[in-house]
Protein backbone atom coordinates (compact mmCIF):
# COMPACT_ATOMS: atom_id res chain seq x y z
CA UNK A 1 0.00 0.00 0.00
CA UNK A 2 1.39 3.45 -0.86
CA UNK A 3 1.33 6.21 1.72
CA UNK A 4 -1.40 8.02 -0.15
CA UNK A 5 -3.65 5.00 -0.10
CA UNK A 6 -2.92 4.42 3.58
CA UNK A 7 -3.84 8.03 4.25
CA UNK A 8 -7.20 7.73 2.56
CA UNK A 9 -9.57 6.17 5.06
CA UNK A 10 -12.48 6.78 2.74
CA UNK A 11 -11.21 4.68 -0.14
CA UNK A 12 -14.11 2.45 -1.05
CA UNK A 13 -16.73 4.23 1.00
CA UNK A 14 -18.79 5.08 -2.05
CA UNK A 15 -18.12 1.77 -3.72
CA UNK A 16 -20.63 -1.03 -3.24
CA UNK A 17 -19.07 -3.27 -0.64
CA UNK A 18 -21.13 -6.01 0.94
CA UNK A 19 -18.53 -6.95 3.54
CA UNK A 20 -19.34 -4.39 6.19
CA UNK A 21 -22.21 -3.47 8.45
CA UNK A 22 -23.03 -7.04 9.38
CA UNK A 23 -23.14 -8.18 5.79
CA UNK A 24 -26.06 -5.89 5.09
CA UNK A 25 -24.29 -3.88 2.38
CA UNK A 26 -24.59 -0.13 2.23
CA UNK A 27 -28.35 -0.14 2.33
CA UNK A 28 -30.07 -2.26 4.91
CA UNK A 29 -32.89 -4.40 3.54
CA UNK A 30 -34.95 -6.00 6.31
CA UNK A 31 -35.90 -9.01 4.17
CA UNK A 32 -32.22 -9.86 3.71
CA UNK A 33 -31.38 -9.53 7.40
CA UNK A 34 -29.65 -12.71 8.66
CA UNK A 35 -31.91 -12.82 11.73
CA UNK A 36 -35.06 -12.71 9.63
CA UNK A 37 -33.87 -15.44 7.29
CA UNK A 38 -32.57 -17.72 10.08
CA UNK A 39 -35.87 -18.09 11.91
CA UNK A 40 -38.33 -19.15 9.24
CA UNK A 41 -37.74 -22.93 9.44
CA UNK A 42 -41.00 -24.92 9.60
CA UNK A 43 -42.52 -25.75 12.99
CA UNK A 44 -42.33 -29.49 13.86
CA UNK A 45 -45.45 -31.46 13.16
CA UNK A 46 -48.18 -31.47 15.78
CA UNK A 47 -46.77 -28.53 17.75
CA UNK A 48 -49.29 -25.98 19.01
CA UNK A 49 -48.19 -22.68 17.46
CA UNK A 50 -49.58 -20.42 20.15
CA UNK A 51 -47.81 -22.35 22.91
CA UNK A 52 -44.54 -22.55 20.97
CA UNK A 53 -44.55 -18.83 20.17
CA UNK A 54 -45.32 -17.96 23.81
CA UNK A 55 -42.36 -20.07 24.91
CA UNK A 56 -39.96 -18.33 22.49
CA UNK A 57 -41.31 -14.96 23.56
CA UNK A 58 -40.76 -15.73 27.23
CA UNK A 59 -37.14 -16.80 26.72
CA UNK A 60 -36.56 -13.86 24.37
CA UNK A 61 -37.94 -11.32 26.83
CA UNK A 62 -35.68 -12.59 29.63
CA UNK A 63 -32.68 -11.97 27.38
CA UNK A 64 -33.87 -8.66 25.96
CA UNK A 65 -34.71 -7.09 29.31
CA UNK A 66 -31.49 -8.21 30.98
CA UNK A 67 -29.47 -6.99 27.95
CA UNK A 68 -31.14 -3.59 28.26
CA UNK A 69 -30.29 -3.43 31.97
CA UNK A 70 -26.68 -4.58 31.52
CA UNK A 71 -26.09 -2.08 28.75
CA UNK A 72 -26.70 0.64 31.35
CA UNK A 73 -23.18 -0.16 32.60
CA UNK A 74 -21.71 0.93 29.28
CA UNK A 75 -19.27 3.75 30.03
CA UNK A 76 -19.55 3.56 33.82
CA UNK A 77 -18.17 0.20 34.99
CA UNK A 78 -15.48 0.01 37.71
CA UNK A 79 -12.76 -0.28 35.06
CA UNK A 80 -12.42 -0.63 31.29
CA UNK A 81 -12.07 -4.42 31.46
CA UNK A 82 -15.42 -4.80 33.25
CA UNK A 83 -17.03 -2.26 30.94
CA UNK A 84 -16.06 -4.41 27.97
CA UNK A 85 -17.10 -7.67 29.66
CA UNK A 86 -20.55 -6.38 30.66
CA UNK A 87 -21.15 -5.03 27.14
CA UNK A 88 -20.14 -8.42 25.80
CA UNK A 89 -22.67 -10.22 27.96
CA UNK A 90 -25.36 -7.69 26.98
CA UNK A 91 -24.51 -8.23 23.30
CA UNK A 92 -24.74 -12.01 23.60
CA UNK A 93 -28.14 -11.75 25.30
CA UNK A 94 -29.32 -9.24 22.73
CA UNK A 95 -28.36 -11.67 19.98
CA UNK A 96 -30.34 -14.45 21.69
CA UNK A 97 -33.31 -12.10 22.15
CA UNK A 98 -33.35 -11.13 18.47
CA UNK A 99 -33.50 -14.75 17.33
CA UNK A 100 -36.11 -15.74 19.91
CA UNK A 101 -38.42 -12.79 19.22
CA UNK A 102 -38.08 -13.29 15.47
CA UNK A 103 -38.78 -17.00 15.90
CA UNK A 104 -41.84 -16.23 18.05
CA UNK A 105 -43.19 -13.97 15.32
CA UNK A 106 -42.38 -16.50 12.59
CA UNK A 107 -44.29 -19.23 14.45
CA UNK A 108 -47.26 -17.00 15.32
CA UNK A 109 -47.51 -14.02 12.93
CA UNK A 110 -50.43 -12.57 14.94
CA UNK A 111 -48.10 -11.93 17.90
CA UNK A 112 -46.39 -8.65 16.87
CA UNK A 113 -48.57 -5.55 17.37
CA UNK A 114 -49.91 -4.10 14.10
CA UNK A 115 -48.40 -0.88 12.72
CA UNK A 116 -49.58 1.52 9.98
CA UNK A 117 -49.71 -0.01 6.49
CA UNK A 118 -46.35 0.04 4.76
CA UNK A 119 -44.36 0.27 7.98
CA UNK A 120 -40.94 -1.31 7.41
CA UNK A 121 -40.48 -2.19 11.11
CA UNK A 122 -39.50 -5.90 11.25
CA UNK A 123 -41.32 -8.34 13.58
CA UNK A 124 -38.53 -8.54 16.20
CA UNK A 125 -38.71 -4.75 16.59
CA UNK A 126 -42.51 -4.66 16.67
CA UNK A 127 -42.31 -7.05 19.60
CA UNK A 128 -39.50 -5.22 21.37
CA UNK A 129 -40.64 -1.65 20.85
CA UNK A 130 -44.40 -1.64 20.32
CA UNK A 131 -45.63 -4.06 22.97
CA UNK A 132 -47.10 -2.79 26.22
CA UNK A 133 -45.56 -3.72 29.54
CA UNK A 134 -48.25 -6.34 30.25
CA UNK A 135 -47.28 -8.15 27.03
CA UNK A 136 -43.74 -8.83 28.29
CA UNK A 137 -43.26 -12.38 29.64
CA UNK A 138 -39.86 -12.09 31.34
CA UNK A 139 -39.23 -13.03 34.97
CA UNK A 140 -39.10 -10.08 37.34
CA UNK A 141 -35.45 -10.61 38.31
CA UNK A 142 -34.14 -9.34 34.97
CA UNK A 143 -36.12 -6.09 34.97
CA UNK A 144 -35.03 -4.71 38.37
CA UNK A 145 -33.14 -1.42 38.14
CA UNK A 146 -29.38 -1.85 37.94
CA UNK A 147 -27.91 -1.68 41.42
CA UNK A 148 -24.23 -1.68 42.32
CA UNK A 149 -21.60 -3.95 40.77
CA UNK A 150 -22.23 -6.67 43.41
CA UNK A 151 -25.92 -6.71 42.53
CA UNK A 152 -25.17 -6.99 38.81
CA UNK A 153 -22.65 -9.80 39.36
CA UNK A 154 -25.10 -11.74 41.55
CA UNK A 155 -27.89 -11.27 39.03
CA UNK A 156 -25.70 -12.53 36.17
CA UNK A 157 -24.58 -15.49 38.29
CA UNK A 158 -28.12 -16.59 39.15
CA UNK A 159 -29.57 -15.93 35.71
CA UNK A 160 -26.76 -17.49 33.66
CA UNK A 161 -26.54 -20.56 35.90
CA UNK A 162 -30.24 -21.17 35.33
CA UNK A 163 -30.24 -20.34 31.64
CA UNK A 164 -27.12 -22.38 30.88
CA UNK A 165 -28.72 -25.49 32.43
CA UNK A 166 -31.85 -24.75 30.42
CA UNK A 167 -30.03 -24.21 27.11
CA UNK A 168 -28.00 -27.39 27.54
CA UNK A 169 -31.30 -29.31 27.51
CA UNK A 170 -33.00 -27.05 24.98
CA UNK A 171 -30.28 -27.98 22.47
CA UNK A 172 -32.28 -31.23 22.08
CA UNK A 173 -35.52 -29.37 21.27
CA UNK A 174 -37.68 -30.74 18.45
CA UNK A 175 -37.71 -27.18 17.09
CA UNK A 176 -34.61 -26.84 14.93
CA UNK A 177 -34.32 -23.08 15.47
CA UNK A 178 -34.54 -23.37 19.27
CA UNK A 179 -32.09 -26.28 19.25
CA UNK A 180 -29.52 -24.36 17.18
CA UNK A 181 -29.75 -21.14 19.14
CA UNK A 182 -29.59 -23.02 22.45
CA UNK A 183 -26.42 -24.85 21.39
CA UNK A 184 -24.76 -21.57 20.44
CA UNK A 185 -26.20 -19.70 23.43
CA UNK A 186 -24.92 -22.32 25.88
CA UNK A 187 -21.32 -21.47 24.94
CA UNK A 188 -22.03 -17.78 25.59
CA UNK A 189 -23.78 -18.47 28.89
CA UNK A 190 -20.91 -20.64 30.10
CA UNK A 191 -18.67 -17.58 29.78
CA UNK A 192 -21.21 -15.34 31.55
CA UNK A 193 -21.44 -17.78 34.44
CA UNK A 194 -17.66 -18.07 34.66
CA UNK A 195 -17.24 -14.27 34.70
CA UNK A 196 -19.91 -13.82 37.37
CA UNK A 197 -18.71 -16.72 39.55
CA UNK A 198 -15.15 -15.38 39.53
CA UNK A 199 -16.30 -11.92 40.60
CA UNK A 200 -18.72 -13.38 43.15
CA UNK A 201 -15.86 -15.16 44.88
CA UNK A 202 -13.59 -12.12 44.58
CA UNK A 203 -16.12 -9.75 46.12
CA UNK A 204 -16.97 -12.25 48.87
CA UNK A 205 -13.31 -12.52 49.86
CA UNK A 206 -12.10 -9.03 48.92
CA UNK A 207 -12.79 -6.38 51.56
CA UNK A 208 -15.37 -6.08 54.33
CA UNK A 209 -17.18 -3.55 52.19
CA UNK A 210 -17.31 -5.79 49.11
CA UNK A 211 -18.54 -8.73 51.20
CA UNK A 212 -21.22 -6.58 52.83
CA UNK A 213 -22.43 -5.42 49.41
CA UNK A 214 -22.39 -8.93 47.98
CA UNK A 215 -24.46 -10.39 50.80
CA UNK A 216 -26.95 -7.52 50.51
CA UNK A 217 -27.22 -8.19 46.76
CA UNK A 218 -27.84 -11.89 47.26
CA UNK A 219 -30.45 -11.17 49.94
CA UNK A 220 -32.23 -8.78 47.61
CA UNK A 221 -32.25 -11.08 44.59
CA UNK A 222 -32.91 -14.45 46.18
CA UNK A 223 -36.70 -13.94 46.58
CA UNK A 224 -36.80 -13.69 42.77
CA UNK A 225 -34.76 -16.85 42.21
CA UNK A 226 -37.82 -19.02 42.89
CA UNK A 227 -39.68 -17.53 39.91
CA UNK A 228 -36.97 -18.89 37.59
CA UNK A 229 -37.21 -22.48 38.81
CA UNK A 230 -40.95 -22.79 39.34
CA UNK A 231 -42.84 -24.21 36.37
CA UNK A 232 -45.23 -21.93 34.47
CA UNK A 233 -48.10 -23.33 32.34
CA UNK A 234 -46.30 -22.07 29.19
CA UNK A 235 -43.35 -24.27 30.14
CA UNK A 236 -45.52 -27.28 30.97
CA UNK A 237 -47.02 -27.07 27.50
CA UNK A 238 -43.66 -26.48 25.74
CA UNK A 239 -42.06 -29.40 27.59
CA UNK A 240 -45.03 -31.67 26.79
CA UNK A 241 -44.65 -30.89 23.08
CA UNK A 242 -40.92 -31.64 23.12
CA UNK A 243 -39.87 -28.14 22.16
CA UNK A 244 -39.15 -26.70 25.63
CA UNK A 245 -37.82 -27.60 29.07
CA UNK A 246 -39.59 -27.80 32.44
CA UNK A 247 -37.44 -25.64 34.74
CA UNK A 248 -38.40 -27.84 37.67
CA UNK A 249 -36.19 -30.49 36.08
CA UNK A 250 -33.20 -28.11 36.13
CA UNK A 251 -32.87 -27.96 39.90
CA UNK A 252 -30.61 -31.04 39.94
CA UNK A 253 -28.20 -29.27 37.53
CA UNK A 254 -28.41 -25.79 38.96
CA UNK A 255 -28.26 -26.22 42.70
CA UNK A 256 -24.92 -28.08 42.84
CA UNK A 257 -23.31 -25.31 40.74
CA UNK A 258 -24.55 -22.56 43.02
CA UNK A 259 -23.66 -24.59 46.11
CA UNK A 260 -20.10 -24.86 44.85
CA UNK A 261 -19.81 -21.13 44.12
CA UNK A 262 -21.34 -20.22 47.49
CA UNK A 263 -19.05 -22.67 49.30
CA UNK A 264 -15.94 -21.25 47.61
CA UNK A 265 -17.13 -17.76 48.54
CA UNK A 266 -18.01 -18.94 52.08
CA UNK A 267 -21.54 -17.68 51.62
CA UNK A 268 -24.47 -19.59 53.12
CA UNK A 269 -27.36 -20.86 51.01
CA UNK A 270 -30.03 -18.16 51.50
CA UNK A 271 -33.18 -19.11 53.38
CA UNK A 272 -35.44 -16.35 52.10
CA UNK A 273 -38.91 -17.08 50.74
CA UNK A 274 -40.20 -16.30 47.27
CA UNK A 275 -41.48 -12.88 46.26
CA UNK A 276 -45.25 -13.13 45.94
CA UNK A 277 -47.12 -12.23 42.79
CA UNK A 278 -50.40 -10.34 42.52
CA UNK A 279 -53.18 -12.91 42.92
CA UNK A 280 -50.51 -15.38 41.88
CA UNK A 281 -49.62 -13.52 38.69
CA UNK A 282 -45.91 -12.84 38.16
CA UNK A 283 -43.58 -11.81 35.34
CA UNK A 284 -44.39 -14.75 33.08
CA UNK A 285 -48.07 -13.72 33.29
CA UNK A 286 -47.30 -10.11 32.35
CA UNK A 287 -47.54 -8.81 35.92
CA UNK A 288 -44.29 -6.96 36.59
CA UNK A 289 -42.51 -4.72 39.08
CA UNK A 290 -42.83 -0.94 38.87
CA UNK A 291 -39.41 -0.82 37.22
CA UNK A 292 -40.36 -2.33 33.87
CA UNK A 293 -42.58 0.42 32.49
CA UNK A 294 -39.90 3.03 33.16
CA UNK A 295 -37.32 0.88 31.47
CA UNK A 296 -39.60 0.42 28.45
CA UNK A 297 -40.35 4.15 28.32
CA UNK A 298 -36.68 4.77 27.64
CA UNK A 299 -36.13 1.75 25.41
CA UNK A 300 -39.14 2.37 23.17
CA UNK A 301 -39.18 6.17 22.92
CA UNK A 302 -37.43 6.66 19.56
CA UNK A 303 -38.97 3.66 17.81
CA UNK A 304 -42.50 4.67 18.86
CA UNK A 305 -42.03 8.23 17.62
CA UNK A 306 -41.39 6.76 14.13
CA UNK A 307 -43.80 3.86 13.53
CA UNK A 308 -42.95 4.08 9.80
CA UNK A 309 -39.26 4.68 10.43
CA UNK A 310 -36.54 2.78 8.60
CA UNK A 311 -33.44 2.16 10.68
Amino acid sequence: MTHDEADNPYAGLLVDDAHWAFGAGQEFRPDEDPVATAVVAPVPEGVDRTAAAAYCLMLGDDALVLAQRLSEWCGRAPDLEEDIALSNIALDLLGQARLLLARAAAIDPTLPPPLPDGSPVPPEDRLAFFREESGFRNVRMVELPVGDFAETITRILLFSTWRLALFERLAASRDSVLAALAAKGARELAYHREFAARWFVTLAGGTQESRRRLLAALGGLWPLWHELVETHPIEVEAAAQGIGVDPGSLVVDVEPVLEQVFATAQVEWPSIGALAGVRGRKGRDGCHTEALSRMLAEMQVVARAHPRGLW
Binding site: H3, A6, D7, N8, P9, Y10, L13, L14, W20, A21, F22, A24, Q26, E27, F28, V35, Q68, S71, E72, C74, G75, R76, A77, P78, D79, L80, E81, E82, I84, S87, N88, L91, L94, G95, A97, R98, L101, P120, D125, F129, D148, F149, T202, L203, G205, G206, T207, E209, S210, R213, E298, M299, V301, V302, A303, H306, R308, G309, L310, W311
Partner: protein, 317 residues
Protein backbone atom coordinates in the same frame (compact mmCIF):
# COMPACT_ATOMS: atom_id res chain seq x y z
CA UNK B 1 26.88 7.70 35.37
CA UNK B 2 25.89 9.17 32.05
CA UNK B 3 28.38 11.62 30.67
CA UNK B 4 27.53 14.51 28.39
CA UNK B 5 29.38 12.83 25.53
CA UNK B 6 27.24 9.69 25.93
CA UNK B 7 24.10 11.78 25.91
CA UNK B 8 25.19 13.52 22.76
CA UNK B 9 25.84 10.19 21.09
CA UNK B 10 22.50 8.82 22.22
CA UNK B 11 20.72 11.94 21.04
CA UNK B 12 22.41 11.68 17.65
CA UNK B 13 21.36 8.05 17.35
CA UNK B 14 17.79 8.97 18.33
CA UNK B 15 17.70 11.74 15.69
CA UNK B 16 19.00 9.32 13.05
CA UNK B 17 16.33 6.76 13.91
CA UNK B 18 13.60 9.37 13.60
CA UNK B 19 15.11 10.73 10.35
CA UNK B 20 15.12 7.19 8.86
CA UNK B 21 11.44 7.01 9.91
CA UNK B 22 12.24 3.94 12.01
CA UNK B 23 10.44 3.30 15.29
CA UNK B 24 11.59 4.33 18.76
CA UNK B 25 10.95 1.42 21.14
CA UNK B 26 10.25 1.54 24.90
CA UNK B 27 13.79 0.54 25.95
CA UNK B 28 15.53 2.92 23.52
CA UNK B 29 17.04 6.11 24.84
CA UNK B 30 14.86 9.14 24.15
CA UNK B 31 14.96 12.82 25.10
CA UNK B 32 12.83 13.52 28.19
CA UNK B 33 10.83 16.11 26.26
CA UNK B 34 10.02 13.45 23.62
CA UNK B 35 8.90 11.03 26.34
CA UNK B 36 6.61 13.56 27.97
CA UNK B 37 5.21 14.70 24.61
CA UNK B 38 4.36 11.14 23.58
CA UNK B 39 2.84 10.42 27.00
CA UNK B 40 0.70 13.55 26.69
CA UNK B 41 -0.45 12.72 23.16
CA UNK B 42 -1.17 9.03 23.76
CA UNK B 43 -2.89 9.67 27.10
CA UNK B 44 -5.04 12.37 25.55
CA UNK B 45 -5.92 10.02 22.75
CA UNK B 46 -6.85 7.29 25.28
CA UNK B 47 -8.94 9.78 27.27
CA UNK B 48 -10.72 10.81 24.06
CA UNK B 49 -11.72 7.20 23.41
CA UNK B 50 -13.05 6.77 26.93
CA UNK B 51 -14.84 10.14 27.16
CA UNK B 52 -16.07 9.57 23.60
CA UNK B 53 -18.08 6.58 24.88
CA UNK B 54 -20.49 8.98 26.61
CA UNK B 55 -22.35 10.88 23.87
CA UNK B 56 -23.14 7.75 21.86
CA UNK B 57 -23.38 5.45 24.87
CA UNK B 58 -26.28 7.55 26.09
CA UNK B 59 -28.27 6.37 23.04
CA UNK B 60 -27.73 2.62 23.53
CA UNK B 61 -30.80 2.44 25.77
CA UNK B 62 -32.92 4.25 23.18
CA UNK B 63 -31.68 2.67 19.93
CA UNK B 64 -34.76 2.33 17.69
CA UNK B 65 -34.15 -1.24 16.51
CA UNK B 66 -32.49 -4.27 18.08
CA UNK B 67 -30.03 -4.43 15.20
CA UNK B 68 -29.02 -0.79 15.77
CA UNK B 69 -28.75 -1.41 19.48
CA UNK B 70 -26.30 -4.26 18.87
CA UNK B 71 -24.26 -2.20 16.38
CA UNK B 72 -24.07 0.79 18.74
CA UNK B 73 -23.24 -1.22 21.85
CA UNK B 74 -20.49 -3.05 19.96
CA UNK B 75 -19.12 0.25 18.72
CA UNK B 76 -19.01 1.87 22.14
CA UNK B 77 -17.39 -1.29 23.45
CA UNK B 78 -14.71 -0.92 20.76
CA UNK B 79 -13.99 2.58 22.04
CA UNK B 80 -13.34 1.11 25.49
CA UNK B 81 -11.00 -1.38 23.82
CA UNK B 82 -9.14 1.45 22.07
CA UNK B 83 -8.81 3.21 25.41
CA UNK B 84 -7.25 0.04 26.80
CA UNK B 85 -4.64 -0.39 24.01
CA UNK B 86 -3.70 3.27 24.20
CA UNK B 87 -3.34 3.34 27.98
CA UNK B 88 -1.14 0.26 27.62
CA UNK B 89 0.97 2.00 24.96
CA UNK B 90 1.42 4.99 27.27
CA UNK B 91 2.31 2.69 30.19
CA UNK B 92 5.39 1.53 28.22
CA UNK B 93 6.74 5.05 28.84
CA UNK B 94 6.55 4.67 32.61
CA UNK B 95 3.19 6.13 33.60
CA UNK B 96 0.30 4.15 35.15
CA UNK B 97 -3.32 4.07 33.98
CA UNK B 98 -4.34 5.32 37.41
CA UNK B 99 -2.03 8.34 37.13
CA UNK B 100 -3.37 9.16 33.66
CA UNK B 101 -6.95 8.88 34.94
CA UNK B 102 -6.11 11.28 37.78
CA UNK B 103 -4.62 13.71 35.27
CA UNK B 104 -7.80 13.52 33.20
CA UNK B 105 -10.08 14.04 36.19
CA UNK B 106 -8.06 16.99 37.50
CA UNK B 107 -7.93 18.63 34.07
CA UNK B 108 -4.14 18.29 33.65
CA UNK B 109 -4.66 16.18 30.54
CA UNK B 110 -7.27 16.94 27.91
CA UNK B 111 -9.39 14.89 25.53
CA UNK B 112 -10.78 15.70 22.11
CA UNK B 113 -13.05 18.73 22.35
CA UNK B 114 -15.57 17.22 19.97
CA UNK B 115 -16.98 15.15 22.85
CA UNK B 116 -17.94 18.35 24.64
CA UNK B 117 -20.77 18.71 22.13
CA UNK B 118 -24.05 16.96 22.96
CA UNK B 119 -25.64 14.06 21.06
CA UNK B 120 -29.27 15.15 20.68
CA UNK B 121 -30.96 12.70 18.31
CA UNK B 122 -30.47 9.18 17.00
CA UNK B 123 -29.18 10.66 13.75
CA UNK B 124 -26.22 11.93 15.79
CA UNK B 125 -25.10 8.32 16.20
CA UNK B 126 -24.75 8.20 12.41
CA UNK B 127 -23.22 11.65 12.08
CA UNK B 128 -20.69 10.99 14.82
CA UNK B 129 -19.69 7.83 12.97
CA UNK B 130 -19.48 9.52 9.58
CA UNK B 131 -18.01 12.94 10.34
CA UNK B 132 -16.45 12.64 13.80
CA UNK B 133 -14.92 9.19 13.33
CA UNK B 134 -14.11 10.23 9.76
CA UNK B 135 -12.20 13.30 10.93
CA UNK B 136 -10.55 11.21 13.64
CA UNK B 137 -9.35 8.71 11.02
CA UNK B 138 -7.87 11.52 8.90
CA UNK B 139 -5.93 12.58 11.97
CA UNK B 140 -5.05 9.05 13.02
CA UNK B 141 -4.10 7.19 9.85
CA UNK B 142 -0.81 9.12 9.56
CA UNK B 143 -0.14 8.15 13.19
CA UNK B 144 0.22 4.50 12.14
CA UNK B 145 3.68 5.65 10.98
CA UNK B 146 4.40 7.73 14.05
CA UNK B 147 7.92 7.39 15.49
CA UNK B 148 6.93 5.76 18.80
CA UNK B 149 6.53 2.03 18.09
CA UNK B 150 3.82 0.93 20.57
CA UNK B 151 1.67 3.94 19.64
CA UNK B 152 2.03 3.33 15.90
CA UNK B 153 1.15 -0.35 16.24
CA UNK B 154 -1.89 0.40 18.41
CA UNK B 155 -3.01 2.91 15.80
CA UNK B 156 -2.99 0.35 12.99
CA UNK B 157 -5.59 -1.74 14.78
CA UNK B 158 -7.56 1.28 15.97
CA UNK B 159 -7.74 2.78 12.48
CA UNK B 160 -9.15 -0.43 11.03
CA UNK B 161 -11.91 -0.45 13.61
CA UNK B 162 -12.56 3.28 13.28
CA UNK B 163 -12.93 2.87 9.56
CA UNK B 164 -15.57 0.20 10.20
CA UNK B 165 -17.39 2.56 12.59
CA UNK B 166 -17.28 5.33 10.05
CA UNK B 167 -18.90 3.10 7.46
CA UNK B 168 -21.54 1.97 9.92
CA UNK B 169 -22.36 5.60 10.75
CA UNK B 170 -22.66 6.47 7.09
CA UNK B 171 -24.82 3.38 6.52
CA UNK B 172 -27.20 4.45 9.32
CA UNK B 173 -27.59 7.87 7.69
CA UNK B 174 -28.11 6.33 4.23
CA UNK B 175 -30.82 4.09 5.67
CA UNK B 176 -32.53 6.97 7.48
CA UNK B 177 -32.48 9.04 4.27
CA UNK B 178 -34.53 6.25 2.65
CA UNK B 179 -37.05 6.45 5.50
CA UNK B 180 -39.58 9.15 6.33
CA UNK B 181 -39.43 12.95 5.84
CA UNK B 182 -38.96 13.31 9.60
CA UNK B 183 -35.96 11.00 9.47
CA UNK B 184 -34.41 12.94 6.58
CA UNK B 185 -34.91 16.20 8.47
CA UNK B 186 -33.30 14.61 11.53
CA UNK B 187 -30.22 13.67 9.49
CA UNK B 188 -29.83 17.16 7.99
CA UNK B 189 -30.26 18.84 11.38
CA UNK B 190 -27.62 16.57 12.87
CA UNK B 191 -25.16 17.22 10.03
CA UNK B 192 -25.73 20.98 10.44
CA UNK B 193 -24.77 20.76 14.11
CA UNK B 194 -21.71 18.53 13.67
CA UNK B 195 -20.08 19.95 10.52
CA UNK B 196 -18.25 22.85 12.17
CA UNK B 197 -17.18 20.96 15.31
CA UNK B 198 -15.87 18.20 12.99
CA UNK B 199 -13.69 20.75 11.15
CA UNK B 200 -12.41 21.98 14.51
CA UNK B 201 -11.15 18.47 15.29
CA UNK B 202 -8.04 19.16 13.20
CA UNK B 203 -7.00 21.82 15.69
CA UNK B 204 -6.38 25.54 15.27
CA UNK B 205 -5.00 26.94 12.00
CA UNK B 206 -1.30 26.10 11.55
CA UNK B 207 -0.28 29.68 12.34
CA UNK B 208 -1.79 29.32 15.85
CA UNK B 209 -0.72 25.74 16.64
CA UNK B 210 2.06 25.85 19.23
CA UNK B 211 2.93 22.13 19.27
CA UNK B 212 2.96 21.33 15.56
CA UNK B 213 6.56 22.24 14.62
CA UNK B 214 8.36 20.19 17.32
CA UNK B 215 5.97 17.25 16.93
CA UNK B 216 6.60 17.16 13.19
CA UNK B 217 10.37 17.31 13.66
CA UNK B 218 10.14 14.29 16.00
CA UNK B 219 7.92 12.38 13.63
CA UNK B 220 5.12 12.21 16.21
CA UNK B 221 2.93 14.26 13.93
CA UNK B 222 3.30 13.93 10.17
CA UNK B 223 0.81 16.42 8.64
CA UNK B 224 -0.22 19.93 9.63
CA UNK B 225 -3.71 20.76 10.92
CA UNK B 226 -4.66 22.72 7.81
CA UNK B 227 -3.46 19.99 5.41
CA UNK B 228 -5.59 17.40 7.16
CA UNK B 229 -8.62 19.71 7.36
CA UNK B 230 -8.47 20.32 3.60
CA UNK B 231 -8.22 16.60 2.94
CA UNK B 232 -11.26 15.96 5.14
CA UNK B 233 -13.37 18.58 3.35
CA UNK B 234 -12.34 17.25 -0.07
CA UNK B 235 -13.38 13.73 0.87
CA UNK B 236 -16.59 14.64 2.70
CA UNK B 237 -18.28 16.76 0.01
CA UNK B 238 -18.93 13.92 -2.48
CA UNK B 239 -20.18 11.74 0.37
CA UNK B 240 -22.67 14.43 1.43
CA UNK B 241 -23.88 14.62 -2.16
CA UNK B 242 -24.32 10.84 -2.34
CA UNK B 243 -26.22 10.97 0.94
CA UNK B 244 -28.44 13.87 -0.10
CA UNK B 245 -27.48 16.35 2.62
CA UNK B 246 -25.77 19.74 2.53
CA UNK B 247 -23.09 21.27 4.73
CA UNK B 248 -24.00 24.58 6.42
CA UNK B 249 -21.25 26.63 4.72
CA UNK B 250 -22.13 29.21 2.05
CA UNK B 251 -18.45 29.53 1.12
CA UNK B 252 -18.10 25.84 0.27
CA UNK B 253 -17.25 25.39 -3.43
CA UNK B 254 -14.84 23.66 -5.79
CA UNK B 255 -11.73 25.65 -6.66
CA UNK B 256 -10.53 24.46 -10.07
CA UNK B 257 -7.20 26.26 -9.76
CA UNK B 258 -6.26 24.74 -6.40
CA UNK B 259 -7.84 21.38 -7.16
CA UNK B 260 -9.48 21.53 -3.74
CA UNK B 261 -12.71 22.74 -2.17
CA UNK B 262 -12.71 26.23 -0.67
CA UNK B 263 -14.51 26.45 2.65
CA UNK B 264 -15.32 28.89 5.42
CA UNK B 265 -13.66 29.10 8.82
CA UNK B 266 -15.15 27.52 11.94
CA UNK B 267 -15.91 29.86 14.84
CA UNK B 268 -12.47 29.80 16.47
CA UNK B 269 -13.73 31.76 19.47
CA UNK B 270 -16.14 28.93 20.20
CA UNK B 271 -13.30 26.45 19.67
CA UNK B 272 -11.13 28.14 22.31
CA UNK B 273 -14.09 28.47 24.70
CA UNK B 274 -14.69 24.70 24.44
CA UNK B 275 -10.97 23.90 24.78
CA UNK B 276 -10.76 26.09 27.88
CA UNK B 277 -13.62 24.26 29.57
CA UNK B 278 -16.74 26.19 28.58
CA UNK B 279 -18.14 23.82 25.97
CA UNK B 280 -21.73 22.60 26.24
CA UNK B 281 -20.74 19.33 27.98
CA UNK B 282 -17.23 19.73 29.48
CA UNK B 283 -18.40 19.67 33.10
CA UNK B 284 -20.89 16.87 32.49
CA UNK B 285 -18.33 14.61 30.77
CA UNK B 286 -15.75 14.87 33.55
CA UNK B 287 -18.41 14.56 36.26
CA UNK B 288 -19.65 11.34 34.63
CA UNK B 289 -16.12 9.88 34.51
CA UNK B 290 -15.45 10.99 38.10
CA UNK B 291 -18.67 9.34 39.29
CA UNK B 292 -17.88 6.08 37.48
CA UNK B 293 -14.35 6.11 38.92
CA UNK B 294 -15.59 6.82 42.48
CA UNK B 295 -18.41 4.27 42.29
CA UNK B 296 -15.94 1.63 41.14
CA UNK B 297 -13.35 2.34 43.86
CA UNK B 298 -14.65 -0.35 46.24
CA UNK B 299 -14.60 -2.93 43.43
CA UNK B 300 -11.00 -2.14 42.48
CA UNK B 301 -10.01 -2.26 46.16
CA UNK B 302 -11.75 -5.63 46.61
CA UNK B 303 -10.02 -6.98 43.54
CA UNK B 304 -6.56 -5.90 44.80
CA UNK B 305 -7.22 -7.23 48.31
CA UNK B 306 -8.32 -10.56 46.85
CA UNK B 307 -5.23 -10.80 44.65
CA UNK B 308 -2.94 -10.09 47.62
CA UNK B 309 -4.70 -12.74 49.72
CA UNK B 310 -4.43 -15.32 46.92
CA UNK B 311 -0.71 -14.62 46.61
CA UNK B 312 -0.16 -15.02 50.36
CA UNK B 313 -2.07 -18.28 50.40
CA UNK B 314 -0.04 -19.54 47.45
CA UNK B 315 3.19 -18.76 49.38
CA UNK B 316 2.01 -20.67 52.46
CA UNK B 317 1.09 -23.78 50.53
Amino acid sequence: MTTTVDEQELAARFDETVARRDRIEPRDWMPEAYRSTVIRQVAQHAHSEVIGMQPEGAWVGRAPSLRRKAILLAKVQDEAGHGLYLYSAAETLGISRQEMTQRLLTGRQKYSSIFNYPALSYADVGTIGWLVDGAAICNQVPLCRTSYGPYGRAMIRICKEESFHQRQGYELLLTMMRGTDEQRAMVQESVNRFWWPALMMFGPPDADSSNTAQSMAWGIKTHTNDELRQKFVDMSVPQAEALGVTFPDPELGWNEERGHYDFGQPDWEEFWAVVKGNGPCNTQRIAHRQRAWDDGAWVREASSAWAVRQQKEACHE
